[in-house]
């Protein structure tokens, strides 16, 4: 049985963790969410038709992220906008690097930080679409949003990122 569980984890854990990592911005939170999603996947995943599994999994991981955010808000009074965002502190590579790589690393850090500033629905759509390559239909099904709303959120999210990054994007 544990072998089957390990195969299930190997198939899905990176994708779940990636979404949680970019959605939440904190590695430890992403690990907690991933653990929660793996438990739910083991308990209920067998009942989900194979073709519906990606959307179902997207729903579960996004809801798990939201649950964690609610718990965090009740635990913390104030979230620092400068010190609380781990990617801004860790994503920039140390030491001298070629200019292009430095720019890419800085851009990545800025994007990760900018994602945390988006409204949650836009953030979820941007990560699912641009980072994880899900289709509009899958995102619509996963988040329970009309198709046009998904497109609107995506475009607004990317436009907001462009605005947040400002002069940081060369």
């Amino acid at each position: 049985m544990i072998g089957r569980f390990r195969r299930l984890c190997a198939r899905h854990q990176d994708r779940v963790f990636t979404f949680a990592r970019y959605y939440l911005g904190q590695r430890e939170d992403a690990e907690d969410v991933t653990q929660e999603v793996l438990v739910r996947l083991w308990e209920h995943g067998a009942q989900i038709p194979e073709e519906e599994l990606p959307a179902w999994l997207a729903t579960v991981r996004r809801n798990a992220c939201l649950d964690l955010l609610r718990r965090r808000r009740s635990e913390r009074a104030v979230v620092s906008s400068s010190g609380g965002c781990e990617p801004l502190e860790r994503a920039v590579a140390p030491g001298p690097q070629p200019d292009g790589l430095v720019q890419d690393a800085e851009l990545r850090a800025q994007l990760e930080g900018g994602l945390q500033l988006l409204p949650e629905a836009q953030r979820a759509v941007v990560v699912l679409r641009e980072v994880q390559g899900m289709t509009y239909e899958q995102i619509s099904q996963a988040l329970g949003l009309p198709l046009n709303t998904v497109k609107v959120y995506l475009h607004r999210g990317r436009r907001a990122l462009r605005g947040y990054l400002g002069e940081h994007v060369p």
């Binding site: 544990i2 569980f5 390990r6 984890c9 854990q13 990176d14 994708r15 779940v16 963790f17 990636t18 990592r21 970019y22 992403a30 690990e31 991933t34 653990q35 793996l38 438990v39 083991w42 308990e43 890419d104 851009l107 990545r108 994007l111 990760e112 941007v126 641009e130 980072v131 497109k151 995506l154 475009h155 990317r158 436009r159 990122l161 462009r162 990054l165 994007v169 060369p170």
Partner: protein, 181 residues
């Protein structure tokens, strides 16, 4: 910038994202391209939008640490034992407690049935022993009778009188003589 130019830039920048995705209607895409050719600010903004889009799509897949799956498995194991205990408690709370009269009566009935069965078993055992002993006596008497018939001897005259009765009579007579002395 004139109002007409400002409106055009605002209109254009709202459509940069769907334009990048190829979702703009042909007429609007053509108008946007015409505007971009003449507006350096919007052209720069388009480049920025392209850079953001490319950056998002280049964000790497994050490898999940191995301990996460191990922790999930441990939690499932704990949940499994907890659920078994909870199901037992739910059964007690959901059925046994509300129906305690029924359960109690069923328990008492079961005890009575077991006790009756035990008594029946003991009585049956005694009856079997008596029947066995009776059968042995009857067989013995039949054997002795058959033996006497075949040999011409009678048990009373050739066996009981000389070997049982006579010794008892002699012992009694000896005892009487000793008392008279």
């Amino acid at each position: 910038m004139s109002d007409e130019g400002a409106i055009c830039c605002a209109w254009a920048q709202e459509r940069l994202e769907p334009y990048l995705d190829g979702e703009l209607p042909a007429a609007e895409a053509s108008a946007l391209q015409t505007h971009l050719h003449s507006c350096s600010a919007c052209a720069t903004e388009l480049q920025r939008a392209e850079r953001v889009l490319a950056g998002l799509r280049a964000l790497p897949v994050c490898a999940c640490p191995p301990h996460v799956a191990a922790a999930a498995w441990a939690r499932l194991q704990a949940l499994g034992s907890h659920q078994r205990r909870q199901r037992a408690r739910d059964w007690l709370d959901g059925w046994l407690v509300p129906h305690w009269r029924v359960a109690g009566a069923a328990t008492v009935g079961l005890v009575l049935v077991l006790a009756a069965g035990y008594q029946h078993t003991r009585a049956a055992a005694r009856a079997r022993e008596v029947a066995r002993a009776q059968a042995q006596v009857e067989w013995t008497l039949a054997y002795v009778g058959e033996l006497g018939r075949r040999t011409g001897l009678t048990v009373r005259e050739q066996v009981v009188r000389p070997h049982v009765v006579a010794p008892v009579q002699r012992a009694a007579a000896a005892a009487g003589q000793r008392r008279s002395l």
